[in-house]
Symmetry: C2
Subunit: 506 residues, 2 copies
């Protein structure tokens, strides 16, 4: 009997996860034999489950059996009926608050960052040039190529120049009820901690997203904003951008890293391309690192509404007060409604890759996804692209889409993102480094030079969650301090800034 | 008396447009004196208009006077009440059909393009590599940089390599009622006429937008699709992309331009950053060129739903049959509903720049916008990103947003876009050339090396609409034939592929 053939997570569970592919007929343990081939990461029934019976993993009902399931059967996504979303009304709060002094102790309590006048410190020293409108994107991208070649080499203490272009700014309903979401994203990106307070904004001149919508009045100055329509032709326009950039580079070049407490660090957690191991290895390990960071005073953000929706009462139980619980409920209601208006529901979330990776439905995906938040109390709930006002663990209610969650968390000010993956993705962000953690060693073997850390050893007891979590913790601090560079930054694999716009295009 | 101080378009009009700034007190003609400073392109009242009276331009009611307006008053956007949208029910069709032989005769009837096995010919010979998902965008962009440097120089007959990345593909509700719109866009972009039938599609491997959603079964081959998750690490992945690209480049390098009839040309018309001159000079001149092209057998597409919505009965009158009229009504209803669900209406369209340029509201903007369609009969109405099945003038019901309309028209297969602007925009597309036409000579003087053609002389009688239209016609054919390069291509000013996704993000 090989005790390491499957993983059962909670004592109530009546299904377990195959650690490797299991061939039909394999005797797994006394009285348990695989009735069919069971792919790695997929579920096997530990007992007979009658039609309409509960299928339980993580101690939670994933769904109800469409037909009778026999002990030893492979359980795939076609065999379960999805349960109702849990209600967000009258959720209990504060019933599962882990005291800060019970969280794991961080092995280090300082890091080397770029201190800002206010808010979290920077993990990089970048010149960030933000467009108010996509119309200006072509010019800005061409200008940034020139800045990188002609100016940046003169400023050795500046890490890079980023053209922050996005699809928003005009051709949109700027006064629509939901327009504040993308507008807030642009406004907050201008002030990203990695840009050191040196705002540089490029507009066209006739767009709907006027400067006053994204900047304070005192910041709308010739030093900070540049309007393309003001310049007579190509050469003048390019020169103006280069001149403004050079002044900003001179200031940024004065900045140095300094030793800072963890309270000046703000990071984000995300997962993408998940499989059934994500909830066993990568996400709990990241959650352990999150707990260490929170104990040390840092701020950790997790997100992805549709991937926590089915576990929201568990999150409410971790909310520190009624207000935080109410904000959580409010964001869930908003998203439920947003999806319903588009004619879908939360089960539109799982991907073919998730299902191939053994995740039967959104409930199972959610249980794994929540694990990356660790066990700390939730001190604040944010709307998409909002900035936190507290330290500790924060839920930022962004879409679960990797490429939309990333820019949203950047707008919220993260200096680094930890990204857990089961299937593998080359995802990266230009503004803040992204550390990729995979759930299985096979993934790390396959993408040996694209995945930064494997949590695979935690799946089968070779390492503990604490071991891998501590490894992730060190990688976070080393990367935030500029000592390590994740693969996505080494290759320049950076995704576009797909900011969330739930309002109409006109 | 200077007869060239203002332009009155239709005999019914009770307002006219100032050709230059007019100072308060200026005597414009016998009995007409400016009561206030009137900015260039803004409206002046030609007679007293009582409260609730009609304000008429283009022979159309732009709106109703909020208060009494005196003869000689400046009429700005705050002085008009918006009329109701015209109904799309039971619109008359076929009542304004200009016979093809009454359209202006094109001075040339052939051009030099890249013939395709089916559909319109190419205006460029490009390797287009399309992602199925944004997750793959970082890798693809890095790979395309290498292809341009390491491979492209060996293939002298290939004009370029384009990474077609977009925000779609995963983290979206792939089965939402509206998901077919972005899916169709990706599917049709893969087969863009400028890619010569050499499909190259890069996916990640776990995304929702699977190959079968965007490719025919027989096209899903190792020659055409590449899945990043199949490759062991960075180097293997990059090499695989380069190898596949090289095979495609070898085939594309065999292609040559040949003399083709106008029936193999498909172009799009768009305007952006409009002012009150757009409807007098640039758009009617482009419309004249469109009429010549249609007479010569070409296909011309115009778009921008919210910018034609108020003139839709005028378009219905030009529809060749009841089916085309019904399709027009259907697309208008869909968009009315889409905007209403987002809590806005069509008047969310005009921008601060439009208003500064003298456009009081969406009715006035629409009347100018429609002018770019010329006078030909409308033979077909398309949903966003659909491909035309007919030759002649076609309405493609895309958003009016420049940066969304562009990719939609590209998906519909345009080989070139003519872009009219009043305020000026550096807008450009990488796949197909964009010719920029401005409405005023001041704009051309200001952006002398960014605007390709000024229609300004048509505003004040120095040239006729036919003169400028013929100039645009020649520029279209020269550019489509590769003889001229518009400024946006000279500088590489290219906008992102912001494809239209009205379905929710998950």
């Amino acid at each position: 009997m090989d005790v390491c053939r499957y993983i059962k997570i909670h004592e109530r569970d009546n299904v377990a996860i195959a650690i490797q592919d299991i061939a039909a007929g394999t005797r797994i343990e006394d009285g348990l034999t695989a009735n069919q081939d069971i792919p790695q990461a997929h579920k096997i029934a530990l007992c007979d489950i009658p039609q309409n019976g509960e299928v339980i993993r993580y101690g939670v009902v994933l769904g109800y059996a469409k037909d009778d399931i026999r002990k030893g059967d492979w359980i795939n996504e076609h065999m379960l009926l999805l349960p109702e979303s849990p209600s967000v009304e009258n959720m209990e709060y504060g019933t599962n608050i882990v005291p800060i002094d019970k969280l794991p102790v961080p092995p280090r309590t300082t890091w080397m960052g770029y201190r800002n006048a206010q808010g979290p410190a920077g993990t990089k020293n970048l010149l960030g040039i933000v467009t108010t409108v996509q119309c200006a994107a072509g010019v800005l991208k061409a200008a940034v190529e020139r800045i990188k070649k002609e100016l940046l080499p003169k400023y050795e203490y500046v890490d890079g120049v980023v053209a922050v272009t996005h699809p928003y700014g005009c051709g949109v309903a700027i006064n629509a009820p939901m327009a504040h979401i993308p507008i807030r994203a642009v406004a907050n990106l201008i002030r990203h901690p990695n840009f050191g307070g040196e705002m540089m904004v490029v507009g066209l001149g006739c767009e709907k997203l006027t400067y006053d919508r994204v900047l304070q009045e005192e910041d709308i100055t010739p030093e900070n904003v540049l309007t393309l329509q003001d310049y007579p032709g190509h050469d003048a326009m390019m020169q103006a951008i280069l001149d403004m950039a050079e002044k900003k580079l001179q200031k940024l070049n004065q900045r140095r890293r300094e030793e800072l407490p963890l309270s000046e660090l703000l990071i984000g957690m995300q997962c993408g391309g998940s499989d059934a191991f994500s909830g066993i290895s990568a996400n709990p390990s990241a959650g352990y690192a999150a707990d260490m960071l929170v104990r040390g005073g840092a701020t950790v953000m997790f997100s992805e509404v549709t991937e926590v929706r089915d576990g929201v009462p568990m999150l409410a139980a971790r909310c520190v007060d009624a207000h935080t619980r109410d904000r959580l409920a409010e964001e869930m209601r908003w998203y439920d409604n947003y999806l319903a208006e588009g004619g879908v529901d939360r089960d539109a979330n799982p991907t073919p890759g998730n299902k191939k990776g053994g995740l039967a439905n959104i409930v199972e995906k959610a249980m794994g996804s929540i694990a990356k938040s660790g066990t700390s109390p939730i001190v604040e709930v944010l709307s998409p692209a909002q900035k936190p006002s507290k330290h500790g663990l924060i839920f930022a209610a962004t879409p679960a889409s990797d490429i939309v969650c990333g820019p949203s968390q950047l707008a919220s000010g993260i200096g680094l993102q930890v990204f857990m993956t089961g299937r593998g993705t080359p995802y990266g962000l230009e503004i803040s480094p992204v550390i990729k953690v995979c759930s299985r060693n096979e993934m790390k073997d396959h993408w040996f030079d694209m995945i930064d850390i494997s949590a695979g050893d935690a799946a089968c007891g070779k390492k503990t969650i604490a071991d891998v979590g501590t490894e992730i913790f060190h990688m976070i601090l080393d990367t935030a301090s500029g000592l390590k560079k994740p693969y996505s930054d080494q290759y320049g694999f950076h995704n576009d800034m797909c900011i969330f716009n739930p309002a109409p295009i006109t």
